[in-house]
């Protein structure tokens, strides 16, 4: 013990031998603190942890520097699951006495294992959550949460008490008693635990006779005195007359009961199971059928699409290969070129050129086709035109106007500058009675070859025909 005034070691005297300060009261206070510490230590020794906490706190109220009392208080807190309170006491203790302090060991024990510290914190958080659930009337959730808390820290007295309280509220007396007994194993003199336990024991005592677990059999027995002994004999016990028969009857009854159980319990269950299995199989088959039907429909669609595509491609191919197809036109042109290059045979060349479709779409033909066709026309066009003109004129003279129209048309086609052919085409139309084609042809002569004799005559015929048409 040290002097409060000069920190010198105190002797047995009531004053400080160093500074002379009166330390009688101070010594008494220190003694009271030690007395409470001893009491706390004693209570902790018999697991009266609540009592120990009270005593140790009293001790610290008298002397905050009572390091042993503070360390023991921390230890008791730790034992009841109040880890943060324990840590607080040990940290203060360590601050008050930094050297040679067992609190150092305790703190290291908790803090050195990060997993354990985290587990402690999780436990506290879950406990607080459980308490919040209780306040929000979510008692089922609170029970679940508290069970988790206690699985992490089975020494958490407050959690046990809260769980017991929830069980009491739910009238689950047996479970409540189990929790409270666990509390008692940790802290034997906790007032709250004792109060709850008293309530639970009271409720269980009133329930037990009602439940009929222990049945009085006083009525079923006969007591009588024989000499010095009391004979206790069951009233309803009878000796079986024929043990074999009774055994057989019992076996038969057992068989009947077994068969009945089989018929009423097992068979319907088996039938139900079979039905359920069949239903499942049918459902699976229907599903498979649906899948297959969908597949068939998809394939049918694909077949239709392919058929349409095939028809389209066939039509295209026909366009290339058919009677008036592009490929045929190419053949005709090549034949025409061949005849002309080999023999300069105008007639055969003309025959082949005539076979080429005049309305052939220029975009469907290749550039080389068009070039060759144009070249042939430029080369032999005027000669061919002259040839057709001469033949046409002969037909015109023979008054075969339809043939003449055809031949003059070809002559105009192969040489657009052949004014005679165009003029006589108009005349052939006129003589054949084709008034409108005749007018159109004469209009072309007037337009393409103005200021010529043919144009002048064409104008006369055109006007005459137009007047006739109007009349």
């Amino acid at each position: 013990m040290f002097c409060y005034n000069c920190d010198c070691h105190l002797s047995e005297h009531d004053f400080c031998t160093a500074c002379g300060a009166d330390v009688s009261l101070y010594k008494k206070i220190m003694h009271v603190s030690n007395m409470y510490y001893n009491e706390g230590l004693e209570r902790a020794g018999v697991r009266d942890l609540s009592g120990a906490i009270t005593s140790l706190r009293q001790s610290l109220k008298f002397n905050k520097n009572n390091i042993e009392a503070r360390n023991l208080l921390g230890l008791v807190y730790f034992e009841t699951g109040e880890v943060v309170a324990a840590l607080s006491e040990w940290v203060i203790s360590k601050n008050l006495r930094p050297e040679k302090n067992i609190a150092d060991t305790y703190i290291n024990m908790v803090q050195s294992n990060a997993g354990r510290l985290d587990s402690i914190n999780q436990t506290i958080k879950k406990y607080n959550q459980a308490l919040a659930y209780c306040l929000n009337d979510s008692k089922d959730l609170a029970v679940i949460q508290l069970k988790k808390v206690l699985s992490l820290n089975p020494r958490f007295v407050r959690a046990h008490q809260l769980l017991a309280l929830l069980y009491i509220d739910n009238e689950q007396w047996e479970k409540a008693r189990r929790e409270l007994n666990k509390c008692m194993d940790i802290d034997r003199n906790n007032t709250q635990t004792l109060r709850y336990l008293k309530e639970v024991e009271g409720m269980l005592a009133t329930e037990e006779p009602e439940a009929g677990v222990v049945k009085s059999k006083k009525d079923d027995i006969v007591r009588y005195q024989s000499d010095n002994e009391v004979i206790i004999q069951p009233r309803s016990v009878r000796e079986p007359r024929n043990p074999l028969l009774s055994n057989l009857i019992n076996v038969a009854v057992g068989l009947v009961i077994g068969l009945a159980a089989m018929y009423f319990l097992v068979v319907p269950a088996a039938v139900k199971e079979a039905e359920a299995k069949a239903k499942t199989e049918i459902a699976e088959m229907v599903e498979q059928m649906d899948v297959k039907t969908r597949r068939v429909q998809e394939l049918e669609k694909q077949v239709k699409a392919f058929t349409d595509e095939n028809q389209e491609l066939s039509a295209k191919l026909e366009g290339y290969v058919g009677k008036d197809g592009t490929l045929n036109n190419v053949d005709y042109l090549l034949n025409a070129a061949k005849h002309y290059l080999e023999n300069q045979d105008l007639e055969l060349t003309a025959q082949q050129l005539d076979l080429i479709d005049k309305d052939l779409n220029q975009e469907e033909t290749s550039e080389s086709f068009r070039s060759l066709y144009d070249l042939l026309l430029q080369t032999i066009g005027p000669d061919l035109s002259k040839k057709y003109y001469n033949e046409g004129y002969t037909a015109y003279r023979n008054e075969e106007f339809t043939t003449a129209i055809d031949l003059f048309s070809k002559a105009v086609y192969y040489d657009a500058s052949n004014v005679d052919a165009l003029y006589n085409l108009g005349n052939a139309y006129r003589r054949n009675g084709d008034v409108q084609p005749a007018i159109d042809t004469f209009d072309k002569v007037i337009e393409l070859f103005p200021n010529t004799e043919r144009a002048r005559r064409s104008k006369q015929y055109r006007n005459t025909l137009a007047e006739e048409q109007n009349n």
Partner: protein, 49 residues
Amino acid sequence: MINFEEELKKFNPSLEVEDAVEAIYNQDLTDMADLLVKMLKESEEKSEQ
């Protein structure tokens, strides 16, 4: 008969590890010895005056 609501009020949330520092700082560490020393010093001051 235990009243659940009343009993529930006796349960307080437990301190979490993060709150430990604050709890330590807030703890009143004044003891009887401190009070005695204070009283003695005050009485000494009065007698000196």
